[in-house]
Amino acid sequence: MRHTISVLVENKFGVLSRISGLFSGRGYNIESLSVNETTDPQVSVMTIVTTGDDWIIEQITKQLNKLIDVIKVVDMTELDHVEREMVLIKVSPRQEDKAEVLRLAEIFRGRVVDSSQKTYTIEITGEEKKIEAIVELLRPMGIKEFVRTGKIAIAREGIKKS
């Protein structure tokens, strides 16, 4: 099963490679990884999406906790939480599809952040499913390239999933 794990780390030299080295060295899988600042400049948060059965996920969280620079590990999947991801999609539609591209962007609450004679670049934020849906819809119109940020996640306040 897929898990989103949030890892608070000391913002120290080499900490990213400690984490990625742990995953590669033990053969765990990383689907996406994002690293960001927090309110405390000495602390960063990493959001890691990984897959594995319960045994593996238990090992991953324990192994992460064991790293000296890791302050806290939260398996978001066990909590009620909000997940978001952003994608930038550059499409180069045929003339007759241009209106449809803009319409789709609007339906998905996207924004056109750049345009040229041949292309539009659209920014979309949302959950993974939404991102995948828009990518699928735009694909036939000619996606030139796209970039995804990877997931970030935050727990909802005060509610524990039963």
Binding site: V9, E10, F13, G14, S17, R18, G21, G25, W55, E58, Q59, K62, Q63, N65, K66, I68, D69, V70, I71
Partner: protein
């Protein structure tokens, strides 16, 4: 007053109570070496290879319980430490390794003798640091010693750029360390301990499996109390030897691939395993699905990742082994009804039957020197009062099987990594810590050649280490596998004529060399060696054909064993296993 980084380094080590370290000089650490030149209370032992320095510090740490300290130069000096660090990491040995580094401004420039040692050792250290500013040095050293010893111990590396050793700062050594990101759990959960105690009280066929954690946490006394009070048989992993007295009536000896029949059998028939400070290594469990099929498992370990890593556990207890056993003993005595006397009798009877059925054995009548005989003789002559280091291979297994370790920290062997070349420098480290103890490296003719240069270190420092080479002219353990699983095709394991004359080598280094070629010469050679207050190489020319038994073929269940008595028969059985 401001002092240089090199001086801060020395002051910090003194504050940590370091008396000895091991190392090798080079360009970027010259400032530190220069400061050490006048030091009386802080002695650096110059080894002849950086790997030797790390193993020596490791042996020092295993024998004393204090962290081993190493100082080497950048680049090749640093990379030469990697095997030693990985060895210590696998066996959870506390060490602090200082490597020189090129000046901060040159880092990343492919400068002369630059190596990214922090990157290289990241996966084989408990933690590592690059110090970029002399202002941070004292704090980093304090943290490094703390991390090396806290929780599950391990090696910590500090990379010191040259300019950091010359820049000046005010020296303030922190009184204590508090890391918000590292707070190991020492106290076991009381509720779980109570549950465990109830289980122990009700078990019909319980077995304790004691690992290296017992030795590391200094819990031998508590373990003995626990085993004796509840009448629990104890088997040990390779790392656990000495954690419980090998000559105790409750001892079953070592378990696993080359464990005793009765230890492995007890596991397979057990209804309760009490795993203490061990991590279910594959050399211990054999085929994991067939391991301890009838047993509930209580697992006590300070490292949460060791628990439920490869076996299911019924009662997990995260905590320091000594602390948990102390509470467990109290609960056993005060809160649990003593009701096991009768059931234990039946179990003890069964264990005795297994002991009689398959005792540890070898051909004791042979005139050719049997390696097991040499180990037994060492045990007999020393009465077990010695520190034994080992190399890796058959020599290591025989040293584990035929010597009974009654005290912790008297058995120094590379368990997790299985590093040939470990034993001799480790013995040197232990001898430095205990100048008056008899320290013996039980070696193979292959392994001893991996760090043989350290004989110079032993001689010059007057460390009277004894090396008993079980010389079978083969990379014996590999040969054993080739004999059993590769139709006796001895690809690159026959050393034969190329084995050097160890007596002459000893003499060339100004040490003593002795040789025994017949059984009757073994005892006189050992006696002579033990009476000489200098390093001695003993060359025991042993039966090359000897194999380590019992043996569980890799991937088989641990009661699927091959036995000495039935070499012929068991080889047939082996074909069936394959």
């Amino acid at each position: 007053m401001k002092i240089t980084g090199a001086e801060i380094f020395i002051e910090c080590l003194k504050k940590e109570g370091v008396k000895h370290m091991f190392g090798y000089p080079g360009g970027v650490v010259l400032n530190i070496f220069d400061r050490l030149h006048d030091e009386k209370d802080l002695q650096l032992i110059l080894t002849r290879h950086e790997q030797g320095a790390v193993h020596a510090a490791d042996g020092y740490a295993r024998a004393t319980g204090k962290p081993g300290v190493v100082l080497v130069t950048s680049g090749p000096g640093a990379t030469n430490t990697v095997t030693g660090i990985a060895t210590a990491y696998m066996d959870s040995i506390p060490m602090v390794i200082f490597t020189g580094q090129v000046p901060t401004l040159l880092i990343g420039n492919d400068a002369f003798q630059e190596a990214d040692i922090v990157g290289i050792t990241r996966p084989c250290t408990k933690h590592n640091f690059l110090v970029k500013d002399v202002e941070d040095l004292a704090q980093v050293i304090k943290e490094a010693f703390h991390i090396a010893m806290a929780g599950r111990p391990g090696p910590v590396l500090i990379d010191l750029p040259k300019d950091v050793t010359t820049h000046k700062a005010e020296f303030v050594y922190p009184e204590s360390v508090k890391l918000r990101s590292y707070n190991p759990t020492y106290e076991g959960n009381k509720y779980m301990i109570k549950q465990a105690a109830e289980m122990v009280a009700h078990a019909k066929r319980p077995v304790i499996v004691a690992g290296g954690g017992v030795v590391l946490s200094g819990a031998s006394k508590e373990l003995k109390e626990f085993a004796e009070y509840a009448d629990l048989p104890v088997t040990m992993t390779l790392m656990g030897l000495g954690g419980f007295p090998g000559s105790h009536r409750l001892s079953l000896g070592m378990l696993g691939m080359h464990g005793t029949f009765y230890a492995n059998k007890s596991i397979q028939e057990s209804d309760l395993l009490i795993a203490i400070g061990m991590r279910f290594d594959d050399r211990v469990t054999g085929k994991i699905d067939a391991f301890a099929p009838h047993a509930k498992i209580i697992h006590i370990d300070i490292d949460p990742t060791s628990i439920r890593k490869n076996v299911r556990v019924d009662i997990p207890i995260v905590g320091d082994v000594k602390k948990v056993l102390t509470v467990l003993n109290k609960v056993m005595k005060e809160e649990v009804k003593e009701q096991w006397v009768e059931v234990r009798k039946a179990w003890a009877k069964q264990l005795d039957a297994w002991r009689k059925e398959r005792p540890m054995t070898y051909d004791r009548d042979s005139e050719v020197i049997k390696p097991q005989y040499v180990v037994e003789k060492i045990y007999e002559l020393t009465k077990g009062d010695a520190i034994i280091a080992t190399e890796v291979g058959q020599n290591q297994m025989w040293a584990a099987q035929f010597f009974k370790y009654d005290k912790p920290r008297t058995w120094l062997s590379s368990g997790g990594l299985g590093t040939m070349g470990y034993g001799f420098p480790a013995a040197i480290g232990a001898q430095l810590a205990f100048p008056n103890k008899l320290v013996i490296d039980i070696a193979g003719d292959g392994s001893i050649q991996m760090n043989i240069q350290e004989l110079a270190t032993a001689v010059i420092n007057k460390l009277p280490v004894k090396v008993a080479i079980l010389n079978n002219r083969y990379l014996g353990m590999v040969r054993q596998w080739q004999e059993l699983f590769f139709q006796e095709r001895y690809a690159h394991t026959k050393l034969d004529d190329t084995v050097p004359d160890f007596v002459k080598i000893a003499e060339a280094y100004n040490a003593v060399g002795l040789r025994a070629t017949k059984k009757s010469e073994v005892e006189p050679v050992l006696k002579e060696a033990f009476s000489i207050k200098r390093p001695v190489f003993m060359d025991f020319v042993t039966d090359w054909h000897e194999k380590v038994y019992p043996m569980v073929p890799a991937g088989a269940a641990i009661d699927n064993m091959l036995f000495y008595e039935e070499t012929k028969k068991s080889e047939k059985k082996l074909k069936a296993v394959k």
